[in-house]
Amino acid sequence: MKSIREFYEYRELLKTNVRKDIRGRYKGSFLGVLWTFLTPLLQVLVYYIVFPYLMAGGMPNFLVYLITGIFPWNFFQTSIVGATGCIKANEGVVKKVYFPRKILVLSQILSGLVNYFISIPIMLIFCVVFHIPLTWNVLWLPVIGLVEALFIYGCGLILAAINVYVQDVANIVQFLLNLAFYGTPIVYSLSLFPSKNILAVMIRLNPLTMIVDMTRAVTMDGILPSFTQMGIVFALGVVITVFGTWVFDKLQKGFAEEL
């Protein structure tokens, strides 16, 4: 509760941080902010060229399938990497000024969320180009993004705080993200697995699988998202955020000394 009031007091800092993050990252490059969306699209292009050869039996609309998987994933990955390093990256300010430290984590997630919102029309354009009939259910996309943001925020709080004390976290996170990428049906379909397969069960329990599933349900299938999945991810997000806030509050007192 206290942190929400402080976020409001420091809302200008939150705004400028998000702006700096979105605009500053590609400052100086010719295409600027466009890279935020070009990078995942080029990634999709690579998978689109390579994967049909690897997997027998093509999938209809594989390109749209990839795109609706990569953008929610990209939101997760970019924000987690950004959040993990954010306290360290702002060492200079953290050591010298008091402000709610969680703002650094939150602004990473918010700038990711802004980028995700901008990617929604891109996903929809690809749907239209590939003759996928859109329904009003695409209006669920921002809601799915918000639920994902809550989940990322909780994880980000824990990772950011621990990373100040133990530098290995950044490397471990790299590995886990790699694992999670293949543990989420982004470039393949779960229907490739036999349904009782232990790996398939684990992949189904992955919250990111649920997020990607919901995204595809409302775009490619034009149906309502599964509210069971929505509920699970949301509940998980709340639990992790509460736990993450507790961990962060415990550890933040030592930030200035550890950095």
């Binding site: 007091e9 420091y10 809302r11 200008e12 800092l13 705004k15 400028t16 941080n17 700096k20 500053g24 400052k27 100086g28 200079g92 300010v93 953290v94 050591k95 010298k96 000024v97 008091y98 402000f99 004390y165 133990v166 530098q167 290995d168 007192k253 030592g254 200035a256 000394e257």
Partner: protein
Amino acid sequence: MDPRNAIEIRHMSKTFRTYKDKQKTLKERLTRRRGDVIENTVLDDISLDIKKGETVALIGTNGSGKSTLLKLMTKILYPNKGTIETQGKLTSLLELGAGFHPDFTGRENIYFNAAVFGLNREEIDKRIDDIIEFSELGPFIDEPVRTYSSGMYMRLAFSVAINVDAEILLIDEILAVGDQHFQNKCFDKLEELRDSEKTIVIVSHSLGMVKILCSRAVWIYKGKLRLDGDPTYVISKYLEQSAIDNKEEVKKAAEDQEAVPRGAVFIDSPVAFQSVSNQEDLKINGWAVSNSENEVVEVLFDDKPVTDIHRSVRSDVFRAYEEDYAGFIDEATVGYIATIPKEELVNGSHHLEAIVRDGKTKRQIDRRSIRIKVDDNPVSAEDDKKG
């Protein structure tokens, strides 16, 4: 917390843990042995009230813990024992330029920097003209900060920090910003803030400034609160203690056979490469300070000692060094005046040297040497500049 207090500190202690090697990776953390941790108590059982509207100076030698105390007030650090509470919006000028982004313009950075202090957009909009005016950056305000000189950078940073309108202002040795003109302006601004119900806490070594600006001084000695009261009294007690400590340190160092006395000597006039007249006696003015008892100052003219030399009053030099050399220097004998009779001034180039030596060992502490010219019709320094 008492509503009349701005800052309340109760039985607060702060310990820093240092490790023999800084261990940052998981492997090193897990394999750390107990003996490698060194606990260092920086502040010990401090209790202090600072009332709203007071201007308080924290004084003490380097490493006495006063800067740490300031950081604890800002909530950058947290105490190990006891409590520290503040009431009201707080800004600390420890962080000049915190959050500056070199690729953005000065104006944009004002917004970033002020946001770090917790101001919102409307509040910054209201103050932006004052901030820009105070910084005296003029048209440069719309240039990227990376193009600024370090002086411009500090001026902008200071202007933001001092204009955020906090109720409590914490300042750590900052009046070293910019040129003399800007320093005077900062000082005036601080006086204005002092007279306007703000609470100000200053850490400073310029004891003269403390006496003018502050209504109260708190002396931190080896992590403990030693004395708290009127600045003039506290400062004199502080200097007394510093004198004792300095002497003891030198004595101890001498016993350890590693006494390296320190000091400085200077020649104010004539200046290097100046032309002086052979029509009148040459007066050499200068000063010398050192932490040696019975220091000796020698002036050499073309490697021959000048015999007519005596020490003189130099209040300006004394004020500058009174803290560093407390117990060793005296206002009345900091300066020296040496006179060379005109008969000895032969036309041509000459070598002038001043040396300060330890009284006992005769070891040289510091020396300064210049070349001067003697001729019949000297061009004075002022005429030289005009020409």
